[in-house]
Symmetry: C2
Subunit: 182 residues, 2 copies
């Protein structure tokens, strides 16, 4: 286990963005000031909804960061008073019109751990049922069924570009395969 | 192909962080203001360095965002005047003490496409040779060889948490397998 750097001081240099400076001393005596960005403080979930053992329900949604429609997974922030799994199921109902009787927290993923504190919890959703909740989406989100066995093809699609969503799909496939003893 | 929202106006609301507001009109007439964060403007590369057909060289490095040591991949920003592949090789020499005679751009990944413009280019590096360049790292980065066949185990390690790095490894493995005609 490596010895973590000492944090001598921290300063919030940009409150709106929660940009923070850390004065660090590494175990070899080197001193540096690193910056990091804090997330919103609300927990984030990314859901892998399995319609059946082989089929995941992807979303096709406008992504303002790239100004294009992107294939991805349902996701969102947990509301105050919700548990992670309750929030995950609400987001599913809003975005893909399905709830799930079986929700499993697979693991937590980071976004850019060297300079962002952001993490997201990956939730596997199975035993789905149809139920639509109104969310705050500006338009209906398109639902795109995709075969888990064809993940290697999804990797190469330009409109599916988010590393974290790819990782969530591989995690889910690995989980399902292990359960099946494959 | 879905019709993209019209952008009626954009405003930079936080210059230090390049936080931008977009006034959008969706094709159904709905109007919303979305926010997005711009990256630094410099290109970013993430490198998958293969020591041999089955072995990738991971890094174990201090990650200020999570204040812990993280397993990951060499990466960095391209310097002015460098090509993507030149920058990728320089980062490799600084972080893992190896250059590569064979560098291939696999694809571009987004970070959080709904609200960040950030992208990173995944570069596969093969035919490695030892060469160390001094970088700006505060301490020596630990180099951790890992078998590509054991990727499913890496998925479950707490100290390997970055979705984008996981996606880059699966992309590289898929690429190598296709070349081998497997």
């Amino acid at each position: 286990m490596k010895t973590l750097p000492l944090i001598h001081d921290t300063r919030l240099v940009e409150p709106r963005y929660k940009l923070e400076q850390l004065d660090l001393e590494f175990s070899n005596g080197e001193r540096r000031t690193f910056e990091r960005i804090h997330g919103s403080g609300r927990e984030v979930v990314i859901i892998v909804p399995l319609l059946d053992r082989d089929t995941v329900l992807l979303t096709r949604e406008y992504a303002a960061g790239l100004h294009r429609y992107e294939l991805g997974l349902p996701r969102g922030r947990i509301d105050p008073g919700e548990s992670l799994l309750e929030g995950a199921e609400r987001e599913m109902k809003e975005e893909i019109g399905h709830g799930a009787r079986d929700l499993t927290l697979l693991r937590t993923l980071s976004l850019a751990p060297t300079y962002m504190t952001h993490v997201a919890h990956v939730v596997l959703a199975r035993d789905l049922y149809e139920e639509k909740l109104e969310g705050d989406e500006p338009e209906e989100i398109e639902v795109v069924p995709f075969k888990l066995d064809d993940l290697h093809e999804l990797l190469m699609l330009e409109e599916f570009s988010e590393g974290r969503a790819m990782a969530a799909l591989f995690l889910a496939r690995e989980w399902v395969r292990r359960e099946a003893g494959a």
